[in-house]
């Protein structure tokens, strides 16, 4: 909210300068984000009057003006055409430095001396654009600093009000805060005025049929008023605060909204059918046109102001077109009511219509302030617009407003804040706040809270008042007593994650962070390739854009589009990983989210290699990352099996990773169709690990086994298998042949004409070892035979003898 300092001074004649007020309010919890001098750059700009004006002898577009500031006459060359002799204008004298940065110097323009400049609103930064120079009101006296003439010798404070402090959404509220800080007094303007009209009860009848939603409804009325522009000073203040002046009646209501925080509404009494107002929520839905011209769908339960026949306003939110003040209006009812905050908020939300009024009602408006606001409104109006104020005030529900009492123990403030607060200190602070205190000597006080402070209901709220008004800087710094920290499952998860990050970093992978939401339409379109199950999708009700409609079912698309983006930027060798959650809802327990680690890899196997081995990365480069990573994290064996369940991988280049029979991850070559839809061509490899499952339990400590004392024997077997035989299975079985088979590995694989189509030759090296003896030739031979037997009979292999 924007508040002119001069307006604040009308309510509290504070000794604080604008800058001091900014600092003091901020440190008391009412943040003033800026404090700007409005007359900035207007130092040498004064009001002046044009004495005569004639064309420039040598330039068609220019004119020569003689202007006076009341004592001196200046010759000015001017390029604008919108002025005439007698006009009051803004004169920038020699030496002025305008708000737009222009410095005014003595100049000769086409041979004619110019002793200053006549300014436009735009040049003075008073408007975004202007058609010519600024013409001031006719009655402007020459020679006054322009800032004074325009009321710009003032500061504008921009105040950020937290949702609990609705009472500060006004000049009066912020003035009260200043008074609470400094101990100065708030003075309310006098609201006396003559009541010369008919009794208000003769003019309008007011009923409140839903008093729960409208605990108080106050009204004043005037007659014989002429709708006209309001005075300059009022228009200026409204404009400064961001409200567009309309006419004297509407401006007065808006002025009061800003001044005391009471939203008001003005009805044209002659347009209120039956001369009555009824405050009630409809039982059935209806359509109503608000004064901004929009048709609003009103649901049952939304509070309306009705006249004798139908709705005339959405209570506390916006008035209706059918009853607003218009040019010919002469009789006006001013509404100054108190509405229930949740009801206003519900209505404003449902209508998608937040107004200055609804914003304040939601946050709480002082129910005790309605009469003062109504009085102040008619008093102001009657000062500049002749009218008859109806006698009396209508005040439905006015008797029910009583201030709240809250108990308070000074000792409690000390306990919470960790700083001693003497009872006298607390007492003094409550005094500044205007909270009467009753102390019966029991150590528990009864503090009476004024009705404008909605936020104070409990002792802790009073503790906060004491703490903030004695300054947080007075709180010492101590340290909480130390306790041995817990080590939670999430601590372990964080550690595991860090180890994974370090491992991947060492393997040349950089870390990506993508949004958890993805573009639903991409997933729908590529559903078959992404394994997308629409029934399992977690969708947003109100996404910020089409790209964020769905919570990602897995991490692939984010990383894949990162690869595409980087390739587009001429980075071809990409290695990225991301740690984040995947979402679904079909898993047990309804809702599902799981931490995953995704890895993506493309380009050269060894970027920057100079040895001539310019190989592209392949499936086994990804396997060579995923498998050791899992061993690094959980140190228990994992099992890689071919899979057909991952449609985002090329068939035949896809594998699942099992740990203790459970799928803990998968990896493979990303399917061509997917690559194409991301405008990628080269092979891209992807792996995803279910991080929490992969590292679910810490590995048990390794157990020592005696080291062999006898030499091992190595045997190589070359064997031709049908191409489909999985070598991993062969090796696993070979290891089971006898206890002496310590290790079995592949040292060579090849295919080709010599071997025959549909076959592959696999070289297997076996290490034989006994713990208790040197193996004899006969034993080695026997094991070797068993292995050959296995390869031939179990896997259809043929031993190569060459």
């Amino acid at each position: 909210m924007k508040i002119p300092y001069s307006w604040l001074k009308e309510f509290v004649d504070t000794r604080l300068s604008p800058a001091q007020a900014q600092e003091a309010l901020t440190m008391a919890g009412v943040e003033v984000s800026s404090c700007r001098f409005l007359g900035e750059g207007l130092d040498s700009v004064v009001t002046a009057r044009i004495l005569e004006m004639r064309p420039h002898p040598d330039a068609d577009r220019l004119s020569l003006c003689k202007v006076t500031d009341g004592s001196t006459t200046f010759g000015i060359v001017c390029g604008a055409k919108n002025m005439k002799a007698g006009d009051a204008v803004a004169l920038a004298k020699i030496g002025a430095r305008l708000p737009n940065g222009v410095e005014i110097k003595k100049a000769k323009i086409r041979g004619q001396a110019s002793e200053g400049m006549l300014c436009s609103e735009q040049e003075l930064k008073l408007a975004e654009a202007s058609a010519g120079i600024m013409i001031l009101p006719e009655d402007t006296a020459p020679g006054i600093p322009l800032a004074d003439a325009l009321g710009l010798s003032d500061w504008l404070l921009e105040v950020e009000i937290t949702p609990n402090r609705g009472d500060c959404l006004s000049v009066l509220g912020v003035a009260r805060e200043i008074a609470s800080i400094t101990g100065e007094k708030v003075v309310l303007p006098d609201v006396s005025f003559p009541e010369e009209g008919a009794p208000i009860g003769d003019l309008v009848r007011i009923d409140v049929s839903d008093p729960d939603l409208c605990p108080r409804y106050t009204a004043r009325a005037v007659s014989g008023v002429t709708v006209a522009p309001s005075p300059d000073w009022m228009r200026r203040r409204l404009t400064m605060c961001g409200i567009r002046p309309i006419n004297n009646i509407v401006d007065v209501t808006n002025y009061l909204l800003l001044e005391v925080g009471q939203p008001m509404h003005a009805f044209d009494l002659d347009r209120l059918r039956g001369g009555r107002i009824d405050v009630r929520a409809p039982k059935e839905a209806l359509v109503f046109t608000t004064l901004d011209g929009s048709e609003r769908k009103i649901d049952p339960g939304m509070l309306l102001i009705r006249d004798g026949e139908g709705p005339v306003a959405v209570a506390g939110v916006m008035g209706g077109a059918n009853s607003e003040v218009v040019d010919g209006t002469s009789r006006v009812v001013f509404e100054s009511a108190h509405f229930s905050p949740p009801s206003i908020r519900r209505t404003a939300k449902r209508l998608g219509l937040s107004s200055e009024a609804s914003y304040r009602f939601e946050r709480g408006v002082d129910p005790a302030g309605t009469v003062y606001a109504a009085d102040r409104a008619v008093s102001l109006l009657s000062r500049f617009a002749p009218c008859f104020v109806a006698r009396g005030v209508i005040d439905v529900g006015g008797k029910s407003v009583t201030p709240r009492t809250v108990s308070f123990r000074p000792e409690r403030a000390t306990r919470i804040m960790g700083r001693a607060y003497a009872p006298e200190t607390c007492m003094e602070i409550f005094g500044r706040l205007g909270f009467p205190v009753a102390d019966d000597g029991t150590g528990t006080w009864n503090v009476t809270v004024p009705t404008h402070r909605f936020d104070i209901e409990r002792e802790i709220d009073l503790v906060e008042e004491v703490a903030r008004l004695s300054g947080y800087e007075s709180i010492p710094t101590t340290y909480p007593e130390s306790k041995a920290p817990e080590f939670s499952g999430d601590d372990r998860f964080v550690d595991v994650q860090e180890r994974a990050f370090d491992f991947l970093r060492g393997r040349g992978f950089s870390q990506a962070v993508n949004f958890s939401f993805v573009a639903g339409r991409t997933w729908e379109r590529l559903g078959a390739f992404l394994g997308f199950d629409p029934a399992d999708a977690v969708r947003l009700v109100n996404p910020i854009s089409d790209d964020t409609t769905l919570m990602r079912p897995h991490l692939l698309t984010g990383l894949l589009s990162n690869v595409a983006d980087n390739v587009r930027r001429f980075v071809d060798d990409v290695r990225l990983y991301e740690s984040g959650k995947a979402f679904g809802k079909s898993y047990a327990g309804g809702h599902f989210e799981e931490p995953r680690l995704g890895m993506i890899l493309c380009g050269k196997r060894f970027p920057g290699d100079w040895s001539g081995a310019d190989a592209s990365a392949d499936f086994f480069d990804m396997k060579g990352v995923v498998e050791p990573l899992l061993l690094h994290l959980c140190a228990s064996p994992v099992h890689v099996v071919p899979t057909r369940l991952r449609p985002f991988f090329e068939e035949g280049k896809a594998a699942d990773i099992l740990r203790d029979g459970e799928v803990v991850g998968w990896f493979g070559a990303i399917r061509k169709e997917l690559l194409a839809s991301f405008e990628l061509t080269g092979p891209v490899f992807y792996g995803e690990i279910r991080l929490a499952k992969a590292a679910a339990s810490p590995p048990p400590p390794g157990q020592y086994e005696p080291l062999p004392k006898f030499p091992p024997v190595f045997r190589d077997v070359a064997c031709v298998f049908p191409a489909g035989v999985p070598v991993g299975d062969v090796l696993a079985m070979v290891r089971e042949v006898s206890a002496e088979v310590e290790e079995a590995g592949v040292f060579d694989i090849f295919t080709g004409e010599k071997i025959g189509d549909g076959y592959k030759s696999v070289g297997i090296r076996v290490k034989l070892q006994s713990l208790d003896r040197t193996l004899t030739e006969a034993e080695v031979h026997s094991i070797h035979s068993k292995i050959v037997n296995l390869l031939e009979n179990r896997f259809g292999g043929k031993i190569r003898t060459s």
């Binding site: 901020t26 440190m27 919890g29 949702p163 609990n164 402090r165 949740p342 908020r345 306990r415 919470i416 960790g418 409990r458 802790i460 709220d461 503790v463 906060e464 703490a467 947080y472 800087e473 709180i475 101590t478 909480p480 306790k483 920290p485 817990e486 080590f487 939670s488 999430d490 601590d491 964080v494 990050f501 970093r505 060492g506 393997r507 992978f509 950089s510 870390q511 990506a512 962070v513 958890s516 939401f517 977690v538 947003l540 009700v541 109100n542 910020i544 964020t548 919570m551 983006d565 980075v571 290695r575 990225l576 959650k581 809702h591 989210e593 060894f606 970027p607 920057g608 100079w610 040895s611």
Partner: protein, 344 residues
């Protein structure tokens, strides 16, 4: 033996010359064989010494032994010389260009947000806090209600919320990691000392706001926790994160789940307090929100506010990462441009 001494002198001269002339190790061994090896000329003289008259034996023996010792030491010296020379030649031949890149990948890069988050977590773990996580898709109860945001309360406008489709209509993407406070307190009795890092979501997007970002929330509940403890802890955290000599400023603010509440500002890390664009000329940077746990929150989890007190604090990780690394546009964090990531 007439002329034995002359003979020794001659052998010594010849031997020395042969050693000096040896070009390689084999020349040298050859010279050794000829002059002072087991079958060499000097050895032959020593073997023939028994045939000499007794009065000459001693002198000739001593002379021969001296000659052999002299030759041996010359031999050793020359051998070292030759080997050193050969080594230099070989090494010169086998020299490689050590400035060529090593084999295997250079390390990748940690994402600055993730790194900052890790650093924050490790500071608080050192200060005795334990990590707790929670779901990203939260219920209205945990995200708002139990944190003292009543339905229809304007405080809900402080956080633009993403709603998630659900039958009951009560699911949201968590707007802060504060729901973890509630979940933790429901599960355990004080003392509680946790930090809750995580991804959070708000419907807001510009150069300083991202619809998804990261937070670290902290909570401590015990019998004697005070706001002074909160001040002490956060002062220590800022010292460990931003370095010493950066004063903090606590100013009153409002969060529904803490009271009293504070915004914590640090002396601007860019201008040092003189005023700049980053701190909007104020000399201070807002880095976190904090306060004493509101008694209503204790009410939701069944803690007695007369017995226990607690503090909570929360910070945006991106904001701190932006300050640490001088990044002005939050959107860079989510583009995953390798040229950006490689800078950290």
């Amino acid at each position: 033996m007439p002329g034995a001494s002359e003979q020794i002198t001659r052998l010594l001269d010849e031997g020395m010359a042969a050693i000096a002339a040896a070009r390689g190790e084999s020349d040298l061994l050859d010279a050794k064989g000829r002059f002072f090896g087991k079958k060499g000329a000097v050895s032959a003289i020593l073997k023939g010494i028994a045939a000499l008259p007794a009065e000459e034996r001693k002198a000739v023996g001593e002379m021969a032994n001296r000659a052999r010792a002299g030759l041996e030491s010359a031999f050793d010296a020359r051998l070292s010389e030759i080997r050193e020379k050969e080594r230099l030649v070989r090494e010169g031949r086998e020299r490689i260009d050590v400035t060529l890149p090593g084999r295997g990948p250079m390390p990748g890069h940690r994402h600055p947000v993730s790194q900052t988050m890790s650093d924050i977590i490790s500071v608080f773990r050192r200060l005795g806090f334990s990590v707790q996580g929670g779901p990203d898709v939260e219920t209205d109860y945990y995200n708002f209600e139990a944190l003292n945001f009543p339905p229809e309360h304007p405080a809900r406008d402080m956080q633009d919320t993403f709603y998630v489709e659900s039958a009951a209509g009560d699911l949201v993407l968590r707007t802060h990691t504060s729901p973890i406070q509630i979940r933790t307190m429901e599960r355990m009795k004080p003392p509680v000392r946790i930090i809750a890092p995580g991804t959070v979501y708000r419907s807001d997007s510009d150069i300083t706001h991202s619809p998804m970002f990261h937070q670290v929330e902290g909570l401590a509940v015990d019998r004697d926790i005070t706001m002074a403890d909160l001040k002490g802890l956060l002062t220590e955290f800022c010292r460990m994160t931003f370095g010493p000599g950066k004063p903090l400023r606590f100013r009153p603010s409002y969060f529904p789940f803490t009271e009293p509440s504070a915004e914590v500002d640090i002396r601007c890390v860019i201008c040092g307090g003189s005023g700049c664009r980053v701190c909007k000329e104020s000399g201070w940077l807002e880095i976190l929100g904090a306060g004493m746990v509101d008694p209503s929150v204790f009410g939701f989890v069944g803690y007695d506010p007369e017995e226990y007190a607690g503090f909570a604090f929360g910070m945006g990780v991106e904001r701190i990462a932006m300050l640490r690394h001088g990044i002005s546009d939050i959107r860079l964090f989510f583009e995953n441009d390798i040229r950006f990531l490689s800078q950290f």
